[in-house]
């Protein structure tokens, strides 16, 4: 498959010996006057599974979009496989993106195409494979995520969990080296969410991919992570293995892990607003 990806003149970028696969330095991202990321430094090593945790609005998805090279930062640098995203040419950026597979929070399947066409799209666009081979590959990819016989259905005909799996099959189409998940179990029932966790674990084991996951689900995070990174208010509070995070002394980390609510402001008597006694 590696040779197939090179079929259309793609030059595979590669980080230097001893360098992390993804290196983030002093990353700042602002939307208007609001600074969402305030100087993030992070390394992701080849083959590890990194889970990014943090309360809602802390900048997890913004950080993920930077790592996916979807947005450009206001300041700082993101380097993926040795390519500085801020200075990269369009061609280099394309080269980096072909190393990646992204499973979006909303699945992001193209609703005007069948599931089969969705999964086959990267293969049709980036390889010179014969259509018969593409058909075989797309069935393999769907089978890999536990979907059989859905290639002629439209995404709207699938359940939420099936859509996420189909989106994962599309992300896996070109055998990516880095796989990104944005809230993989959001909106799914615990059984399907557990199935997605198992899928991530099996991908990690079978293909030794570098996997980066943004999630709120603590159980899932501790199950799949080699390392965890906790963000709060645009800064990294803690990075380390699951045990390091679990015993981290920072009060905000412990508050998040132990699900302790923020103290209620004086003057407001309850979390429940409205409703007269």
């Amino acid at each position: 498959m590696r040779t197939l990806r090179a079929a259309k003149g793609w030059v595979r970028p590669r980080e230097a010996e001893g360098e992390p696969l993804i290196r983030v330095r002093g990353l700042r991202v602002s939307y208007g006057s609001r600074e969402v990321l305030r100087g993030v430094d992070l390394d992701v090593r080849r083959g590890e599974t990194l889970v990014i945790l943090g309360p809602s609005g802390c900048g997890k998805t913004t950080l993920l979009r930077q790592l996916e090279a979807l947005d450009r930062p206001s300041a700082g640098s993101v380097s993926i496989a040795g390519v500085d995203i801020l200075r990269a040419s369009r061609r280099q950026l394309e080269g980096v993106r072909r190393l990646m597979g992204v499973s979006f929070q909303s699945a992001a399947m193209f609703n005007s195409m069948t599931v089969g066409d969705n999964v086959a799209l990267p293969l049709r666009e980036h390889t010179d494979l014969a259509e018969s081979t593409i058909q075989v590959l797309l069935r393999m990819k769907l089978q890999q995520v536990g979907l059989i016989g859905v290639e002629d259905l439209y995404p709207s005909q699938l359940s939420g969990g099936m859509r996420k799996r189909a989106s994962l099959a599309r992300a896996l189409a070109l055998d990516p080296e880095i796989l990104f998940f944005d809230e993989p179990s959001a909106g799914l029932d615990p059984i399907i969410a557990a199935g997605i966790d198992q899928l991530i674990l099996s991908l990690k084991e079978a293909f030794h991919m570098t996997i980066i996951v943004v999630t709120h689900e603590m159980h899932s995070a501790f199950l799949i992570a080699d390392r965890m990174c906790m963000l709060d208010e645009g800064r990294i509070l803690a990075v380390g293995a699951a045990e390091v995070i679990r015993s981290h002394p920072h009060p905000r980390v412990q508050q998040f892990l132990n699900r302790v609510p923020d103290p209620v402001d004086e003057g407001s008597s309850s979390y429940i607003v409205g409703g007269r006694q």
């Binding site: 996916e68 992001a108 399947m109 049709r124």
Partner: protein, 265 residues
């Protein structure tokens, strides 16, 4: 914000918008040649034919009705005035030249803005909101290549055809007027119209159709790409696409008309 600051801020936003349109047009143009039946897996070609059917074929009935009604209205209004001077035959000149130079392309543009400009904007905006555009980028596919180029090529092919259909409908409606008021047969009327029309009239109408088509596609797509605020933003981007397209089409019409007036008399 003072009054002057507010005026300056709005002016800068308008200039920035036109700049963004020009950049999108320039960057999108690089992908136009990829929309052909021999490139890749014909995905773009398939999208092109779908768009041509959507923009062109499905707009045709309503366009012919609107253009026919406009031609008839023009004939009736001008006939009422020209009768006073005994120049009823000038109605043929008036309907023929104004439909070919001006009203045909403009009516086609307005119908296409209403039907397709809004639909293009809604489609792109929905794709942005549901992260489909991000998914394209993540797959190393340029949205300008995959989304905009087939729509642009479809519009460039279809708009001149729709303009010709609008011109014919308007002129034929004028022919009905001529039959009842001047006793002129349709063949005589069409022959007379062909005599008075110049190559300049036809070319200026077709050039306008191309310019209007480019504006409609690029405004629709830009409004879609700039959607913000989730699903409710889709509605706003659709409204924005229609309003801005109509405004820019009329400004472009003025510029084209002035150009042909001064440089090709």
């Amino acid at each position: 914000m003072t009054f002057l600051e507010s005026v300056g801020y709005r002016a800068i936003r308008r200039v920035e918008y036109v700049g963004a349109l020009c950049i999108q047009f320039w960057q999108g143009s690089r992908f136009v040649l990829r929309v052909n039946p021999f490139a890749g897996r014909r995905l773009r070609w398939r999208r092109l034919t779908q768009q041509m059917a959507e923009i062109g074929v499905r707009s045709l009935p309503v366009l012919c009705l609107v253009a026919g009604a406009t031609g008839m209205i023009m004939a009736l209004q001008s006939g009422a005035e020209l009768r006073k001077f005994g120049a009823m035959e000038a109605v043929i000149n008036l309907v023929g030249t104004s439909m070919t130079r001006e009203l045909g392309p403009l009516i086609a543009a307005i119908v296409v803005i209403g039907r397709s400009g809004s639909a293009i904007s809604a489609e792109v905006a929905t794709m942005v909101v549901t992260e489909e555009v991000d998914a394209l980028k993540a797959m190393a596919l340029d949205p300008l290549d995959f989304l905009v180029a087939p729509k642009y090529v479809a519009m460039v092919v279809v708009m001149p055809c729709l303009t010709i259909a609008a011109v014919f409908s308007g002129i034929l409606a004028g022919g009905v007027f001529a039959y009842f008021t001047l006793g002129m047969t349709l063949v005589m009327y069409l022959r007379r119209t062909a005599e008075i029309l110049l190559m300049r009239d036809v070319v200026s109408g077709l050039v306008k159709a191309l310019v209007f088509g480019s504006i409609i596609v690029h405004v629709g797509c830009l409004e879609g790409f700039r959607v913000s605020g989730g699903p409710e933003g889709v509605g706003k981007s659709t409204t924005g696409a229609v309003v801005k397209s109509i405004f820019l089409v009329i400004v472009a019409d003025l510029i084209c008309t002035a150009f042909f007036y001064f440089f090709w008399r």
